[in-house]
Symmetry: C2
Subunit: 460 residues, 2 copies
Amino acid sequence: MTPSLRNPERPVAALIAPDILASLDESPQDIARDTEEMHPADLANVAEVLPLERVADFLRTLPQARAAEVLEYLDEQLRAELLEAMNPEQAALLVGAMTPDERADVLVELEEETADEILSDMPTAARQETERLLQFEPDTAGGLMTTQFVAVSADLTVKDALALVREAARSGQREAMHAIYVTDADGVLQGVMSLRELVAAADDTHVADAMRSEVVRITTQAGRSEVTTLTSEYDLVALPVVDGFGKLVGVITVDDVIDALVEEQTEDVQKLGAVQPLEEPYFAAGFWHVARKRVGWLVFLFVGEMFTGTAMRHYESTLAAALSLTLFIPLIISSGGNSGSQSATLITRALAVGDVKVGDFLRVLVRELGQGLALGIPLGAIGFIRAMMWGSSAEVAAVVASSLVAVVLVGTLVGAVLPLLFRRLGFDPAVASSPFVASLVDVTGLVIYFTIARNILHIA
Amino acid sequence: MTPSLRNPERPVAALIAPDILASLDESPQDIARDTEEMHPADLANVAEVLPLERVADFLRTLPQARAAEVLEYLDEQLRAELLEAMNPEQAALLVGAMTPDERADVLVELEEETADEILSDMPTAARQETERLLQFEPDTAGGLMTTQFVAVSADLTVKDALALVREAARSGQREAMHAIYVTDADGVLQGVMSLRELVAAADDTHVADAMRSEVVRITTQAGRSEVTTLTSEYDLVALPVVDGFGKLVGVITVDDVIDALVEEQTEDVQKLGAVQPLEEPYFAAGFWHVARKRVGWLVFLFVGEMFTGTAMRHYESTLAAALSLTLFIPLIISSGGNSGSQSATLITRALAVGDVKVGDFLRVLVRELGQGLALGIPLGAIGFIRAMMWGSSAEVAAVVASSLVAVVLVGTLVGAVLPLLFRRLGFDPAVASSPFVASLVDVTGLVIYFTIARNILHIA
C-alpha cells in the first residue's frame, strides 16, 4: 500500500517523496547524502507532500543546520503543527539552528505556551537574541531584520577584513553576507562595503579609505513600506538597521524584502477589494476569521447603499410619473461606479509606487475631469441610442444620456479624490476600494439622474 | 535670480541642487569630488530637480561610469528627453557605459531613429551585445537579464576562481557578482557558488567539489512572473538565464526582479480595477492613451449592464404591481457586487501568490458557498428590518431579505469561480475585476429579486 501523499500540486516533490518514504524505512542514514545537492526550498516541498507523521522523521535524517534551513522554507501552517507536535527540546535545537529573524518569525506563529517552552530550552545567547527580536512589531524594520551580520572596524586593512569575512562565512553564518558594515567602538554605523567591493579592493588599503560612508539605513521602528521603498530605490541587497543612537543592530536581506513586498501588495489588493487584510494564505485563514474580515465592510457599504432607497423615496413622484426611468437606474449608477473604480485604482497605485503625491491634487483633478468627460460622452451617446431603441421618448433618452455623462464625470472625480484625501488624512488610500467608490457614486448618481429628469421632463 | 527647480517633492535633492547649480557656473571640476560619496540614486534625484537644460552639463562633470550609473536611476521620461537632446556620439558614450540590460532598456524608451543613431555610434562589441538583448521581449527573462556575469570552469581551484572574480570586480564590472557560475567548454551551466560560498571555501579545493550542481535557472523566453516566483521561492539574489541548449547567456539580478515584481503588481491592480495595464507612470502616460486603456472596459461593462434594462422590462408588470420594489433595487444588486468583489479579490490574489491552484476549485466553491451564507444572512436581516422601518409590508420585507441572501450568495460564488475559470482558460484571473463581477451580478441579481418577488407576492 502506498502511503497517501498530500498536496498533489507539487509534481516534482511528489515524484521524489515515495523514494524518501522508502528510504525512511530502509536506509534513513542515506537520505542526507542523497538529497545533499537539493535546494532547501525543494526539500521543503518534499516535506510538504509527505504524510504529516513522517515529516519529523525526515527532518531528523538531515544535519541540524540543513533541517533548520528546510524548516525556514516550510509552509507556515505545517511548520507550526510540526513544532507543536515535537518535544520542546528537539524543537528548540531545530529552531535554535535557524537564522535569528526566522527564529522569531516561527515562534510568533506558534501557540504562546509552545513558543515559551521552546524559547526556554534554547541556549541563553540564542534565547536572548530571539527575545530581543520578538519585541519588534513584525511589520517594522526591527521585525524584519536579522541580527547576524559582519561588522568590522575602519582601521582594518582590506586583507584583514576579508579574512574576517571568510571566517564568518566558514563558521556557518548564512545571512547578510552581501555587504560588510563598518562600525566604531560604540557600534555606530560608519560605512559599508559590498562583498564585491571588498574583493575588488587592494589588500593593503584601509577599510576607511575603501568604504562608502554615506550608507542608506533605516531605523528599527520604520514600517514595512519604507523598507521596500528604500531597497527598491537604491537597488540594495541588504539594508542596515540602526537604533535611535545610530548603532547598527541588524540587517534586512533582500529575500525578506521581497516577501515583505508581496505581503504588502496582498494587503493593498485586499483593501481595494473591500476586504480587511488577511494575514494568512487563503486556505490557512479560518472560515469565521475570513467572514469577520469581510462582514465589516459589507455591512458598512450596505448601510451606505441604503441611502439609494432614501433618494428614491424622495423622488417617488418623479418615478411614478415616468416609470420607464426605472429601467435605466442600474445602468446609470453602475457606469459611475465603474469609472470611479478605474480612477481610484489608478490613483491608489500611483500613490503606492510614488508616481503621484498628495501635492499633485490639482493636477490629478484636472486630468480626471478630462478623463471623466472623455469617457462619459461616448457612454452617453451609446445610452441615448439604446434608450431610443427601447422606444423611450427623445426626452427620456436625453435624460439618460446627460445623466450618464454627469455620473461618469462624478464617478471619475470621486474615485480620484478619495485616495488622495485618505492619504492626506493619514489613512491608507487603498481604503478607497472599488465597492466603496461604487456605493458613494450610486447614491450621488441617483440624485443626479432624478434631478436631470425633473428638469428635462418638467415633472415635480 | 534663483533658477527654477522642478519636482519640489524631493526635499533633500532640492536642498543640494542650488549648490550644484552654483558649482556648475563657478567650479564644475569640483562636483565629481564633492558628490563622490553620494549614492547614484540620490544624484539622479538631484538631476531630476535641476532645470532641464543643465542636466547634461551636470552629467558631464562626472566620470563617465558614474554618469552612466546616475542615468540608470534617472526618471525614464527625463532620461529619454536628455538623450534625445544630446549629440549621438556623447549619448553613445554614456549609454555604452551602462550595464548591458539597462542599455537595452534605455534604448527601447527612445524614438527609434535616436536609438539607432546611438547604437551605431557605440563600439562594435557593446553594440552587438545590446542588439542581442534588444531581440528579447522586455517582459521575458531574456529582456530582464544582463549579459555581464562571471563564469569559471569546474577544474579551477577556489583560489584561482577568487582571483578571477577579483579581477572582474576591479575591471569595473558592476553587476551580477553575487554568485559565480560554473560552465563547461560549450558554456553550458553546470554549477553555482555564491560569492559567500567562494570566500568560505578552502583555497585549494576545486570548484567542482565546492559548487552546487543543482542550479535554479530559467530560460530566456520565460515570462516575468516565472522570474519573480523563482527568485522569491528560492530566496535568490541572482537568477541565471540559459538558452535552449542549457548555455548560460545572462543573469537576472534581484534589483531587476524587485522592479519586475512592482510592475507586475501594478498591472494586476489595474486589471482588478478594470483598466488595461498602463506601461507608464500616471502622469507620464498620455491623456488619450489612458482614456483608450479605460474606455474599452467601460463600454464592455456598459453593454453588459444594459441587460439590467432588459431584465427590468421583462418584469415590468411585477414592478408596476409593487412599485415599492424599485426602492430596493440598487441596495440588493450592489450587495451582490460587493461580496463578489471580495471573493474575486481574495481568489485572484491567492492564485497570483500560489496559495490557491485551479485544482482547488471544489474546495474554493464549498468555502465561498459557506462565506456567501455567512455574509448574506446578516445583510438579509438588516435589510428586513430596514424594509419594515420604511413601512413596507412583511411580504415585501421578506422578498428583500431572501433576495439579499440569494444575491450575496450568487455574488460570492461568481466572484470566486470567475478567476479560477479565467486561469483555467489561460486568461489572466485579474480580468475578473470588481466592476466586471459587479456587472454580472447586477443582471443576475435583478432576475433573482423579481423571481422571488413574483413567488412571494403572487404577482404575474
